[in-house]
Point group: C2
Chain length 451, copies 2
């Protein structure tokens, strides 16, 4: 029996038990100090680095980034923190492969531009590392399979770093779903609705605004992310919206996504922004760029157990931030846009009720136990829970709660949505990356223990 099937079997037999403060698979002594390498030390990588450096159970042994300035900031963090002497890998786009052959690393955190995610994760898995992979969409169905096969053929494990799964309201709603308050799930919604215009276009000196540059002349995300809006039209960033609701719908654990169809609007927002910006204008070279990405991309996903999931990607227009969650079942629904819910027999008939008191009442045990520590961490504290979960699982080499099958199923939405849009919204089958094991896999995210 290998470790993975042991973990699975333990989870199965332990499903009915409450094992407070310990995970059922914790059969071996955890690593005292997890030795971590960082692939990518940009702003997101530095967030993770900062969180890791605060922990006594981690040591940062290596940093890799071709960007000298980002690397210098990261090294500065290390020197001020608990790991003053990480080995540095820089100077080329391929130097990360050298870092991965080190013998003294237990884990690696990958926070690089999207196109590097799968190649790096695959090699890290092949090196039997515990891999934390930042989120994003895939480029092809094939690379999602590559990711799955790399884990299945190694002793490495992939933890997909979808932080929104740890959002406080999301975890409370997930608890409500599991306790049956909404009945059986029927329809779910999520999305990434975030005005990123000043992220995708900046002045090349700061991460936010001040100009309309991108690519070589851009800084931080505008350096690498914006080009995807130029060339691609699809649900480019599906996981923040999809991950949480996929977990609630037990995708890959008794349920699976079967097919999707996607639709895009015209692309107007980024061009308008360039033309109207004081540092832009109609004669700015970027005013000639034709953006392929529709301003709003809508994707409908069908699930084996009869649910639909609606995703909305909306990052190029002026708008307030909203992940647009809706969780609806046979007994009621919650929406985050109006911070309200309705539960048959428990709230007034045909009326919304403010969700606040419900979210407090169903506050997830993780948050109850650790909210204080999370205060001040990124994205309202959820990043603390994400990194804590990653580290605690990695120290025990446990099967990740957000695993390689989740990563593949969620990331594949991107290329499939691109294909659907390019074919006039034709439906696309979604592969079963578990090859049938979804039938017997059990939910494990935030069920046992306290991480």
């Amino acid at each position: 029996m290998n470790r993975r099937s042991f973990v699975r079997n333990t989870a199965l037999t332990g499903a009915g038990l409450t094992l407070a403060m310990s995970n059922p698979a914790s059969s071996t002594r955890p690593i005292d100090r997890l030795r971590i390498g960082f692939l990518g030390t940009g702003l997101r990588g530095q967030n993770h680095l900062d969180a890791i450096l605060k922990r006594a159970d981690c040591e940062v042994v290596a940093l890799c980034d071709p960007d000298a300035s980002m690397l210098a900031s990261a090294l500065d963090l290390c020197k001020k923190g608990s790991s003053p002497n990480p080995v540095i890998y820089t100077g080329s786009d391929q130097v990360w492969q050298e870092m991965l052959i080190r013998e003294d690393m237990d884990a690696v955190i990958i926070s690089t531009p999207w196109e590097w995610h799968v190649p790096m994760a695959v090699q890290a898995l092949e090196r039997n590392l515990y891999v934390g992979l930042e989120v994003g969409g895939a480029f092809s169905v094939e690379e999602c399979w590559d990711l799955v096969h790399a884990e299945e053929r190694s002793r490495g494990k992939l933890f997909f770093l979808e932080n929104v799964c740890y959002r406080r309201d999301i975890m409370a709603v997930m608890r409500m779903v599991r306790e049956g308050l909404f009945g059986d799930l029927i329809h779910l919604q999520g999305g990434y609705q975030h005005d990123l215009r000043a992220v995708k276009l900046n002045d090349g000196k700061q991460p936010y605004g001040g100009g309309v540059e991108f690519g070589e002349k851009g800084y931080s995300e505008s350096k690498w992310r914006t080009i995807h809006s130029v060339h691609r039209n699809g649900e480019l960033y599906p996981t923040h919206g999809l991950g949480p609701v996929a977990m609630m719908a037990n995708i890959n654990r008794g349920n699976r996504m079967t097919h999707l169809t996607a639709m895009s609007t015209q692309a107007r927002g980024l061009h308008d922004y360039i033309v109207k910006h004081p540092q832009g204008g109609a004669s700015h070279p970027n005013a000639n760029v034709r953006f392929a990405l529709g301003d709003v991309v809508t994707t409908m996903i069908h699930c084996q157990q009869g649910q639909s999931i609606l995703l909305q990607h909306d990052t190029s227009l002026p708008r307030p931030y909203s992940l647009g969650f809706r969780v609806q079942g046979t007994a009621g629904l919650w929406m985050d846009i109006n911070q309200s819910l309705h539960i048959e027999g428990k709230t007034e008939s045909h009326r919304w009720e403010s969700a606040g008191a419900w979210l407090e009442r169903y506050d997830h045990p993780f948050w109850k136990a650790h909210a204080e520590k999370a205060t001040g961490a990124g994205h309202g504290g959820m990043d603390w829970f994400l990194i804590n979960s990653f580290v605690e699982h990695a120290r025990r080499h446990e099967h990740p709660p957000i695993d390689v099958y989740d990563a593949a199923a969620w990331m594949v939405i991107t290329p499939l949505s691109e294909m659907s849009i390019s074919q006039g919204s034709a439906p696309q089958p979604i592969p079963d990356f578990t090859n049938g094991r979804w039938v017997n896999r059990n939910p494990s995210f935030a069920i046992h223990g306290d991480y």
Copy 2:
């Protein structure tokens, strides 16, 4: 030059003018007293009858319904009102055809079960009547063409009675759209999200609740509407959500809907309701009914000018009423679920602002002029505006603001969504019922005059 092209040409040349309190096409003296016949005197027909009876410019000359009890209530309304002696048509399902050959009617209002809408409207148009047709979805693409051809080959006119186009907030937002506050439109949403379980299932004596009967044993809508949930799976009631946003997007007037794709969830709500109801239970005969209609049906529509329209049909689950409107353009968006909007440069960056003050400021001239009269009328007053618009247009035999092309384009969503769902969400082309005239037609809804 026939009346229709005269109206169109007048509208074109008059587009830049403000013609307060008169419509540009009012070239002939209006009929003093519009003689109206009613096909269908159920609860919705009685709403319309009540509104008509309050007007000095209308006379009810005929009532038709095979249901003796509904007919008696309608006749009672007439006797108490301004038209004590309408001719009655009853006794068979086909007697309406006799009513339509009367020579003394100017107009007819059709408020019958969905399956009668098109056959009745077609014959009424062929009789050159001014036809008010209640909303609903069609059954086939062909019957939508039948409707269009019937008007094009006659002097009759079809006014599609979509009341939500007259909702106060909708008309204010439409004004904001037209004045460019949201920029160019990108994405629109609407729907029919209304817990109709106690409408679809009742005790056979009252229109709402008290039991789980439908069909022969049901009362009012449960008598005829519920069977559609048994046999059909699609966007069965598209127009309340679609009509208002289609008007904003200038569908059939410089824009058109090109194709759609639809997806359905499992059907659970109605069965659960029957089983859990005190008058139902697992052994009630209706517990054996298999409902085809998915609890949530989502439809995405693509428009020629690059917009997407998202529709949600959700009538079998416990939930608060919400038509779920979202109107989004290059400069901002409005949503009704959180009663908020965001307008670039006018509201705080990245933040929602309560829509209340904006809706007051952009209150539509129709509402400013007549809000007092509308008080107490159906559905928050919008029904007054609907019937007023119908009567005033009919008295002048003017081209309706919501016309046969709108009716066809909106009603066809139903059969196309059914086809899409039955083909695994395959996209379906949406016919151009104007045969190209959408290119030159101009917006006319609530632009001129005060009706």
